[in-house]
């Protein structure tokens, strides 16, 4: 099938390897991938700040551009939740709610798409390391993604998954929250990093680069040895 891969702004600019890995994996599975060049963001920052008209200014073209897509795979659980769950709220009463509902039906987060839509868990990956998985909140609670990433990790050769305590606790990123309330965001991140550290893992893995950006930022400043990596990069490792 033809997969429309939605690459959010921060993955485009900061973590291109995540997107590239996804393209490679989807093509390896025999699908045609298209990446729309003319949309860059789902509008979540404005939406979460309460600026809904401004969020619609970002989201309107997204809704239009994805109308013809067969299936939309989003490279982040958080942006996936925005497209799948929050667009119906955002566009309620605007005359585009039906389009938002239609889009919702064909949006998938990447790991969930592999496991629950395509039924694939083994991608032939090899990644000899001890890792712990961080459940991004939007993926976990808005989209209900819990098992898919773990089933994918289970099939990675050489990889050992060690669950941390409070794996479902928020890392403290929270989008604009991280800049508006940096002290709370940082405190939450400290708790998360400590839990990850306690597992003795080499890497914190997640299906959300935004959480990882926040955690890696803290780890680097604190010179802590744990590293962060996106699930797709692990799956593309050979």
């Amino acid at each position: 099938m033809t997969v429309t891969l939605f690459i959010p702004c921060f993955i485009d600019a900061l973590y291109p390897r995540v997107g590239i890995s996804m393209v490679q994996l989807l093509e390896q599975l025999g699908h045609r991938v298209e990446c729309p060049d003319d949309i860059a963001c789902c509008g979540q920052p404005a939406f979460n700040s309460g600026c809904w008209p401004e969020a619609r200014a970002v989201a309107d073209p997204v809704l239009t551009r994805l109308r013809s897509s067969e299936v939309v795979v989003v490279a982040s659980g958080s942006c996936g939740a925005m497209l799948k769950k929050f667009y119906t709220d955002l566009f309620a009463g605007t005359g585009r709610e039906d389009e938002a509902a239609t889009l919702s039906g064909k949006v998938w987060e990447f790991s969930d798409f592999l496991v629950r839509c395509l039924g694939v868990t083994d991608l032939g990956a090899r990644f000899p390391a001890r890792v712990t998985f961080h459940d991004g909140c939007h993926g976990l609670r808005e989209l209900g993604i819990k098992t898919s990433p773990r089933r994918l990790l289970e099939r990675v050769q050489g990889l050992e998954l060690i669950e941390m305590t409070d794996t479902e606790t928020c890392c403290g990123f929270g989008g604009t929250f991280s800049a508006k309330y940096p002290m709370i965001s940082t405190a939450m991140g400290e708790v998360k990093c400590a839990a990850a550290q306690a597992t003795g893992a080499d890497y914190i893995v997640s299906n959300d680069s935004s959480c990882l950006m926040h955690l890696q930022g803290l780890l680097t400043v604190r010179k802590q040895p744990v590293k962060t990596i996106h699930l797709a990069e692990i799956l593309a490792s050979r």
């Binding site: 769950k85 609670r141 808005e142 209900g144």
Partner: protein
């Protein structure tokens, strides 16, 4: 005519409520509810079920009745129910003692009075308590009966409050007492030891059954207080560490009689 301010507050509040309710709110569990598998197919209302006041068909079966199978079970057979009750009591630190005869229970009472050095007993008039008190009478302990009123300071000095109960609840290890049948409001909480004399037949599976039974027995002339006592008085307010006997009894004992 001068308007009664209390009356007007009542009408103001009810008026604001009615105005507010003109816009309907979404039924729960839809929209953004993140948890799946919670929709229930509406069942027809069972005979005797309380229909809602408005005759609206929104809730065909009271959800709290429909929910019984989803709550912690009280057990189906008597054996299961007793097992639940005992397990719950152990966990709660309620002492449960079983007797084959009233005489055996009374002997144990006399023993307890000695062991714990009871200096006074508070109780009320009822068949089981009457029998117990007469069995204890040889010890010549000051005894206070609450029926018809009592001086609070006297009860405060009693070592034990002995009461009957309305029901024992298997599901939770609870004891149902009321202000009418078990000696008033304070008797089961003021003395440091609450000793309950219960008949084995008083065990019910769960809270729902206990409430139904109480309703059948009392409604609409309810005792002014009915209370589910679940374990001795407790607190975790200091560092979440369990301490018994916060304000009420430190000890709760249930004597099971035939």
């Amino acid at each position: 005519m001068v308007e009664d301010p209390a009356m007007s507050a009542r009408e103001d509040i009810l008026g604001r409520i009615r105005e507010a309710l003109r816009k309907p709110a979404p039924f729960p569990g839809h929209g953004h509810a993140p948890t799946a598998a919670t929709t229930h197919s509406p069942a027809p209302p069972p005979a005797g079920a309380r229909s809602n006041l408005h005759g609206s068909p929104v809730i065909p079966l009271r959800p709290s009745v429909a929910a019984r199978p989803w709550l912690p079970p009280g057990g189906v057979t008597p054996a299961e129910q007793w097992d639940r009750f005992r397990t719950a009591s152990t966990e709660l630190k309620t002492a449960v003692e079983e007797f084959d005869s009233a005489e055996a229970a009374h002997a144990r009472l006399r023993e307890l009075a000695g062991e714990q050095g009871w200096s006074g007993i508070a109780s009320h008039r009822a068949p089981l308590t009457d029998a117990a008190l007469s069995a204890l009478s040889a010890l010549q302990l000051p005894t206070l009966l609450t029926d018809g009123g009592y001086p609070v300071n006297d009860m405060e000095k009693c070592s034990v409050g002995i009461t009957e109960c309305d029901a024992l609840v298997a599901q939770t290890g609870s004891i149902l007492v009321t202000s009418r049948s078990t000696g008033g409001r304070a008797l089961s909480v003021l003395p440091p030891h609450h000793l309950v004399l219960a008949r084995r037949a008083q065990l019910v599976p769960d809270l729902g059954t206990a409430l139904e039974q109480a309703k059948a027995r009392y409604a609409p002339h309810w005792p002014s207080m009915i209370s589910f006592i679940t374990g001795p008085s407790r607190t975790g307010d200091i560092e979440r560490i369990l301490v018994l006997g916060a304000h009420g009894p430190k000890q709760l004992t249930v004597f099971l009689l035939p």
